[in-house]
């Protein structure tokens, strides 16, 4: 395996032109990639391009309309950001519940997005806040909404040579929360997770509502039928039955499809009653 460490995006693109090897991989925090390497089974890429030193891809910036997160920003930096805590509660909470401190110091937001796991904890928050993913490639840059960027388990719209450079979040004053159900409290991959973005009037009625759930379909999914039912004013008990229309869970080593569906409905209902004060508490 050959290892390269470009210092800038330009250097990265110059490097790509010179490489002849067929299998190459971008390394950010390495927390998804490295456990998959089994040298004996030939599962190593021929070329590893470590992007951690590329300038300007780290850190959280703000302007009047947006918060911009560099793709190499670590989950620990997101957890510690007061800005994120104040304005993007679901992302801040997802970072808090993410693995242990050692992994959080390495794992990046860009890695979580590009890994495109149906269970990725940072993703539901990005979906409900309708994050835009900024990509830079040899032919320039483009921006894609997160829900279009991720197309299947481990599959994204990333073209060869492109990297994710930034994540853009609009500051609309929408509140959000994140909930994760794992098989144990920490260090667990979600059996179900979700984020809810909402605005409420002074009576507690929703003026906007957006929910995205993970681990219940090949990608994160919006719970549109459930949200429509809630917004149309039907009772929580009735609305919750609509969740099954939005999801397509499967059986795997962590849980059965049935369990995921029931668990999602139960924890959703719990959050609606106790966090959002809907129905009877």
């Amino acid at each position: 395996m050959k290892y390269f460490r470009p210092n800038s995006i330009d250097e990265y693109h110059e490097l790509l032109v010179t490489l002849k090897e067929t299998s190459m991989s971008i390394l950010a925090g390495g927390t998804d990639l490295m456990p998959r390497w089994e040298p004996d089974k030939g599962l190593m890429p021929d070329v590893l391009i470590d992007i951690k030193k590329i300038d300007g891809l780290m850190g959280i910036r703000e302007n009047e309309d947006e918060i911009i997160i560099g793709a190499l920003t670590t989950i620990q930096d997101i957890k510690k950001s007061i800005l994120m805590q104040n304005e993007f509660g679901s992302l801040s909470e997802a970072a808090r519940q993410f693995a242990g401190v050692q992994i959080r110091h390495r794992a990046t937001i860009g890695g979580n997005i590009c890994n495109a796991s149906p269970a990725g904890d940072i993703l539901p928050g990005l979906y409900v806040h309708q994050a835009n993913i900024q990509l830079i490639g040899p032919n320039g840059s483009r921006s894609i909404p997160i829900s279009k960027f991720i197309i299947g388990p481990g599959k994204t719209m990333l073209e060869p040579g492109e990297i994710v450079s930034e994540i853009h979040l609009l500051r609309k004053g929408v509140k959000s929360l994140f909930y994760k159900l794992g098989l144990r409290q920490s260090m667990a991959i979600a059996v179900v997770n979700f984020a809810i973005a909402y605005q409420q009037d002074s009576n507690g009625a929703f003026t906007s509502l957006n929910i995205a759930a993970g681990s219940v379909a090949p990608t994160i999914v919006y719970l549109e039928s459930f949200v429509d039912a809630i917004m149309s004013g039907v009772s929580l008990d009735e609305a919750i039955q609509h969740v099954d229309i939005d999801i397509s869970p499967i059986d795997d080593i962590r849980a059965t499809a049935d369990y995921r569906s029931t668990a999602l409905k139960n924890v959703l209902e719990y959050n609606f009653r106790h966090e959002l004060h809907q129905g009877n508490e």
Binding site: R5, M44, D50, I103
Partner: protein, 157 residues
């Protein structure tokens, strides 16, 4: 496989040597520097027993390519005490019986030291959260957390 000549700073000493481009810091520490205090548990990022400090931050050496550590400072469990003087975290793990087989202990120490330095007033709950990336199959954690509470008290004074 390409061997590369590098220089690595571990516990304040610089060592020049040859490494494979795909080797992990855990492998380098144990098999090239013979610093076997850092333990290999799962080699998958889930147990925390291989934790070391990279520029002061706790990271898993089993998930860190060695080539990425050039120009950075690595501290391992062997670099935590000053001679015979144990760090408070080590001292109270011994005093409180916070270890049985001891396999998880280097990782616990390397996670707890920066955590308590950054959060000297951490509550018991926060200490538990801070240690959530470290598995221990023996103690049931209670005595580890007791020890860290006592260490925090000493570090505050």
């Amino acid at each position: 496989m390409g061997l590369k000549q590098i220089e690595l700073t571990v516990n304040d000493f610089s060592h020049p040597f040859l490494v494979e481009s795909d080797e992990t810091l855990l492998f380098t520490l144990r098999n090239r520097l013979y610093l076997t205090g850092t333990k290999e548990g799962c080699n998958q990022g889930t147990c925390g027993s291989c934790t070391v400090l990279l520029d002061g931050k706790p990271v898993l050496s089993c998930m860190t390519p060695t080539l990425r550590c050039v120009e950075k400072k690595v501290i391992t469990i062997e670099g935590i005490s000053s001679g015979e003087n144990l760090h408070p975290v080590q001292k109270y793990l011994v005093k409180n019986g916070g270890l049985q087989c001891g396999f998880c202990t280097p990782g616990v120490v390397m996670t707890a030291v920066p955590f308590l330095e950054e959060n000297p007033d951490a509550s018991r709950r926060e200490i538990k959260e801070g240690l959530s990336g470290n598995l221990c199959r023996c103690t049931g954690y209670k005595k580890i957390i007791d020890a860290l509470e006592n260490a925090a008290a000493e570090m505050r004074s």
